[in-house]
């Protein structure tokens, strides 16, 4: 193991601290001002209230956007999980050269700039005469997050000893029983973390959504629209909620990824 010198470690640590402050510091300011108001160039300490949050709860536009976001995320992730698992099994089990091509097709929407993916989907939907709606958004998100889900599940599948499947079949299990009793439980942590990460991706995906949506909007779009009119306490409250939500998702994902294999 190569060890860095004390000085190098200190430099790295200060850069990390600086990045942390610059990146996430402003968010704390936003959270702060979701509770307090700013008057005459000074913080009004007496203004502490949950008013911003209360008004969010009464904003129909916001509530619809939140519900849309969750709906799109849940459905798109479910589609991606089913397809991703099936495709991972296909890649792992097949020997044909065709599988490499298929894998490239799966990865492309994730690797290409979102604007390309969004535009090509948009053109496709128009040519196929599919009206833009939440359904097209769901399809777009599923295509986008599929690569991630596929890769995580395939990764786990490839590290599973092949003798587990052999042992199950050898003991008289059918292929379906082998999947049900041996493979699915072994893949569960991977499927769980793939679902959370894919949901987080879908949650803040803006560009593709913008291009393929109809009249309905998701939370990031709503936030974008609100910010064009300046920072209001509502936006601060929304940012605070998103921060809490995404932090919790990230922690959950880390738990799944780090979970011992037998659980």
């Amino acid at each position: 193991m190569i060890r860095l010198s004390r000085g190098a470690n200190a430099v790295l640590l200060s850069i990390a601290a600086f990045v942390l402050v610059v990146l996430y510091g402003p968010l704390l300011v936003a959270v702060f001002f979701s509770f307090f108001t700013f008057e005459n160039n000074a913080v009004n300490w007496g203004s502490f209230s949950f008013d911003a949050y209360a008004s969010l709860a009464h904003d129909e536009g916001i509530i619809t956007a939140v519900l849309n976001t969750f709906l799109v995320g849940a459905v798109a992730v479910s589609i991606a999980l089913v397809l991703g698992t099936a495709l991972a099994f296909h890649y792992n089990g097949s020997r044909s050269r065709f599988r490499e091509l298929l894998q490239l097709v799966i990865f492309l929407p994730f690797l290409m700039p979102p604007i390309i993916t969004g535009l090509s989907l948009l053109v496709f939907f128009r040519e196929a005469d599919i009206p833009r709606s939440l359904i097209t958004v769901i399809i777009g998100h599923a295509v986008f997050v599929l690569a991630l889900v596929y890769r995580i599940i395939l990764n786990r599948l490839q590290t599973l000893p092949s003798s587990l499947v052999a042992a199950s079949l050898d003991l008289g299990a059918s292929r379906w029983q082998t999947f049900r009793y041996v493979l699915a439980p072994a893949l569960m942590p991977a499927i769980g973390s793939a679902a959370i990460l894919a949901f987080a991706l879908s949650f803040d995906e803006t560009l593709i959504t913008l291009l393929v949506t109809g009249t309905s909007s998701t939370l990031p779009m709503r936030l974008w629209a609100m910010m064009r009119m300046g920072f209001s306490p509502d936006i601060n409250a929304l940012v605070a909620l998103i921060l809490i939500g995404s932090t919790m998702l990230a922690l959950l994902a880390m738990r799944f990824v780090g979970a011992p294999a037998r659980r």
């Binding site: 052999a166 042992a167 199950s168 050898d170």
Partner: protein, 363 residues
């Protein structure tokens, strides 16, 4: 043996090719019902391929597999009445020991109470009573090994296939497990096919040994046959130390062989058929069968000079060289003595061995 043992599984001309390379060429093997057979060979000899073909993990490229005389070559793995103990044990990590052991019954839809009873019996058999609620990761290597064995025997298979199952264990545990496997095999009276690359293990554990080399079978026989009556030079060299002397058959009769060599004439026995006068080959004599000293009487005698003697625990190894033909070196093993072996290097004496300890293999 009073009656001819029944053949359980038979391989007829079984071959396996991967792409252009043939890893198994035309193998014939008959496994007797109830025997403990080891398949022994270096890595790449095709021994694991044989196990996988019998188990149904892979299909042979040629030939056929028979069970009770019925061709089962096309029978899928999950319908064959055989179970395997894998090299890495292949225990299901997310299942308890009891769930692992009962798996074969669970997938067959056996009633839960019945499964619990059989699991307890199987765990008792492998001396793991009370381990049912643990997870494989909480067990030692030897314990995991026994869980894998319990899992394989619970469905009462006709044949248990063991793929180098003791490879990962240390020497002492390995010896314990060898005795244990043998004991279990006797108890449940099931045929075992045990793959190993360890000669000592194969000899210790087996009723019969199948020696493999480069995708073919060199010899099938009891440990004693394979050790003392090897079918060819490969097997003769494979098991332990051996002395091989170039010779040709001078005369073959009912009472044995007369062999001519540059170091004189030898008398040997052979179990091999079709050995005729003029055939060239090797005279074999085990180092422990040679007696040193002028008083010793054996049919085969050579005058030798002592080169050196070294103490290696229970036996001492003595290197000698024929006086008349100095390029013939022999290895002799003698029981060690506390005062050492009183053989001075350079001294000359007779090395002799009896006809029954002497064997001939054609080249």
């Amino acid at each position: 043996m009073d009656e001819m043992p029944k053949t359980l599984v038979e391989l007829r001309d079984v071959a396996k090719r991967y792409g252009g390379t043939e890893v198994l060429h035309g193998v014939n093997l008959a496994l007797r019902d109830g025997e403990f057979m080891t398949v022994l060979g270096p890595s790449g000899s095709g021994k694991t391929t044989i196990l996988r073909i019998i188990g149904g993990l892979i299909r042979p490229s040629g030939g056929a597999v028979f069970l009770d005389g019925v061709d089962i070559s096309a029978m899928p793995i999950n319908q064959r009445p055989f179970n395997t103990v894998f090299q890495d044990y292949a225990l299901f990590p997310h299942m308890t020991v009891a769930a692992n052991v009962g798996y074969g019954l669970t997938v067959r839809g056996v009633a839960r109470a019945e499964i619990r009873k059989k699991v307890d019996e199987a765990l008792h058999l492998v001396a793991l009573d009370g381990f049912g609620t643990r997870y494989p990761a909480e067990l030692s290597g030897g314990q995991q090994q026994r869980v894998a064995l319990a899992r394989a025997i619970i469905c009462q298979p006709r044949l248990i296939l063991l793929d180098e199952p003791l490879g990962a264990l240390d020497a002492e545990l390995r010896r314990q497990m060898q005795r244990f496997l043998k004991q279990i095999q006797r108890e449940i009276r099931t045929t075992f096919l045990f793959i190993t690359h360890d000669q000592e293990e194969a000899v210790t554990i087996a009723d019969r040994i199948c020696v493999m080399n480069r995708g073919g079978i060199e010899q099938i026989g009891s440990p004693r046959e394979v050790y003392y009556r090897p079918a060819n030079e490969y097997v003769a060299r494979f098991f332990g130390d051996n002395n091989l002397i170039d010779a040709t058959v001078a005369d073959s009769g009912a009472d044995g062989l007369r062999l001519a060599s540059a170091s004189g004439e030898f008398r040997a026995r052979t179990s091999l058929a079709g050995i005729a006068r003029g055939q060239a080959g090797k005279v074999l004599v085990r180092p422990e069968a040679i007696v040193l000293g002028d008083a010793a009487g054996g049919q085969n005698r050579i005058r030798v000079r002592i080169e050196d003697a070294s103490f290696v625990g229970p036996v001492s190894q003595v290197r000698v060289r024929a006086v008349a033909k100095p390029d013939l070196a022999l290895l002799v093993k003698l029981p060690s003595r506390a005062e050492g072996i009183l053989l001075a290097p350079g001294s000359e004496m007779e090395a002799s061995w009896s006809e029954s300890e002497c064997h001939f293999v054609p080249a």
